[in-house]
């Protein structure tokens, strides 16, 4: 079976037609054969994965375990893992061994998954192309001369290529949804606070949220069930019960209202992508949903707002990398200040340094009010726009990205062009909302993503809409030729 879903894998494990060891060996073989081209993994954990697979097989044989027991998955290398290196795509953490597991890692381990490795990513999740990784760019399985997007580019490529059925990701400005769109898979970002950030290396703490890259919304719901929930170790974790996500996947869309923001169908949206997204909306109409025009009048300001708030938080979060307690250290410094400066010069890549410097500038004396304070005010306006929309609609639909996958190297020297690629995703993070990207067609043979955005803690609605769409369409079943090779 090519690119089986978690649901299909779980069924095969239950009826004994396959073992976790066989699945794990097959995944390791595919990575061995194909990852020289894709570079989706920073670390592959053969031995420990096989040991976990054997334990899962024993549990399944004893009639124990749950729907995720024995399913091979990968973690984005931003999640701390006690037994595997955690690099965050940076030279700075090239040798970092976390003393503990991230809550996401622990929750999924408790659910019985087999971790097959850590995926490549933009350095410290700062990038939209996976080209800022210290460990080299990742190639898109649909066209290996193109980017899979970022920052969860390794996770997206690994799932699209059929190495694993699912991988974890993080989304600060679109880092799950954008790579999912560009690689033709499903990418789900929950509400801010829904999934614990404990052990997820911080980039911009008021925006970061963990989620998943999968083949289907149904699989995303299954993983979310294991990942989500209150965590006393994360001070911004949401203390509210986790609903049964699978229970509402099949709910009828009859009479549901979809908001279509005119601002998401602007001149910047490539024509082929627009045609796919508009066609996708008619699928919901056929299911009984109605559409209405809504407006997000401040969405144009979301990219500038983000590029103040996110670098400001990053400059402060990344001040911990000083060469003293962990990470890279410059050897042979004469004094402490020189050690800090040379450690950070050598340990960070160009984009991370640009963001640290942008953040330092906007927070510096004399500029704070004009930049940071103004950005937090505009952020409130953007969040208010979304809130107003959700007074009249159940979901907002639009494109995930302005264009399909761009070529590696195409935007890497122009940070502003790269930043504008996240125009449709960034507002969702600023407002803290849940969003999903699902494949909805092709433009010039490259996958296009449909983005669905829900109100705060509206994960059930987002997954319900996405699942109903995938029951009516086959785009999520389309695999790149690379997956068959």
């Amino acid at each position: 079976m090519q690119r089986p879903t978690i649901i299909e894998i779980a069924a095969a494990l239950r009826d004994g037609s396959v073992t976790s060891r066989e699945l794990t060996e097959a995944a390791l073989a595919r990575i061995d054969a194909g990852d020289g081209i894709l570079n989706a993994f920073i670390t592959v954990t053969g031995e420990s994965a096989l040991a976990a697979a054997d334990a899962a097989d024993a549990a399944i044989a004893a009639g124990k375990g749950g729907p995720l027991t024995g399913v091979p998955i990968a973690h984005k290398d931003i999640f701390c893992t006690r037994d595997i290196l955690t690099t965050c795509g940076s030279k700075m953490l090239g040798n970092f061994r976390s003393p503990y597991d991230a809550t996401v890692v622990g929750n999924l381990a408790a659910a019985g998954v087999v971790v097959i490795g850590k995926t490549n990513m933009d350095e410290f999740a700062m990038g939209s192309s996976n080209e800022t990784s210290f460990f080299g760019p990742v190639a898109n399985p649909w066209d290996t001369s193109r980017s899979p997007g970022g920052s969860s580019g390794g996770s997206a490529a690994a799932v699209a290529a059929g190495f694993v059925a699912a991988a974890t990701g993080t989304d600060t400005g679109g880092s799950i949804r954008q790579p999912a769109a560009l690689t033709g898979i499903t990418g789900f970002k929950p509400t801010y606070g829904r999934v614990s950030r404990y052990g997820m290396i911080a980039f911009a703490s008021s925006l970061d949220q963990a989620g998943v890259l999968t083949l289907t919304a149904e699989d995303a719901a299954l993983l979310m069930q294991a990942m989500a929930g209150f965590d006393p170790r994360d001070s911004t974790s949401a203390d509210r019960p986790v609903p049964e996500y699978a229970a509402t996947l099949d709910a009828s869309l009859q009479g549901k209202r979809i908001g279509i923001p005119a601002e998401f169908f602007d001149d910047g949206l490539e024509a082929g992508s627009e045609a796919c997204v508009r066609e996708a909306i008619t699928v919901f109409e056929a299911l009984g949903a109605t559409t209405e025009a809504v407006s997000l009048p401040h969405i144009d300001a979301s990219v500038p707002t983000y590029y103040i708030v996110a670098p400001a938080e990053c400059s402060s979060n990344l001040s911990r990398f000083d060469g003293v307690r962990f990470g890279h250290r410059h050897e042979g410094s004469r004094d402490l200040e020189e050690m800090y400066k040379l450690t950070r010069k050598e340990g960070f890549g160009a984009e991370v340094k640009r963001r640290i410097m942008t953040g330092t500038y906007v927070l510096s004396a004399g500029y704070y009010d004009a930049y940071y304070l103004q950005a937090q005010k505009v952020r409130q306006l953007i969040a208010d726009d979304f809130r107003r929309c959700f007074e009249s609609v159940d979901i907002i639909a639009g494109p995930t990205t302005p264009t399909p996958a761009f070529r590696l190297g195409e935007k890497v020297d122009d940070p502003v062009q790269m930043y504008l690629n996240d125009i449709y995703t960034i507002g969702v993070n600023l407002a803290g909302l849940p969003g999903i990207s699902v494949p909805c067609g092709f433009s010039d043979d490259l996958p296009v993503g449909l983005q669905l955005i829900g109100p705060a803690f509206g994960e059930q609605a987002v997954l319900n809409f996405a699942h109903r769409y995938q029951q009516q369409t086959n785009w999520h079943r389309m695999a790149p030729a690379f997956a068959a090779e």
Binding site: S206, V324, R325, D335, Q374, Y419
Partner: protein, 95 residues
């Protein structure tokens, strides 16, 4: 707004980043284009808007001031480049 060479050097110092002379021009160029992008926000009227404190209007949680972690210094120091007698070693700070 264009940043100057000395702006970049000042920011780099505040961020404790060494920037060599041959890198300064590229930072001036790229940071200026980023600041141009974000400076557009100044055009929006926000005189009656309160700055966002939390995306979901939640309050910061408090917990009892109780010891919840044991001392695991040796485990934590495993990642340090230089330690001695349980301390982290750094270049001389006091002459």
């Amino acid at each position: 707004m264009a940043l100057s060479k000395s702006d970049v050097e000042h920011i780099a110092h505040l961020a404790r980043l060494e920037v060599s002379d041959d890198e300064v021009a590229d930072y001036v160029d790229k940071l200026s284009s980023i600041i141009d992008l974000v400076a557009r926000l100044g055009e929006l009227d926000t005189s009656n808007v309160l700055p966002m404190a939390h995306p979901l209007d939640m309050n910061q949680r408090l917990r009892p001031d109780a010891v919840t972690e044991i001392n695991r210094r040796d485990l934590y120091q495993r990642n340090a480049q230089a330690v001695g007698s349980g301390f982290y070693r750094v270049p001389r700070v006091i002459e």
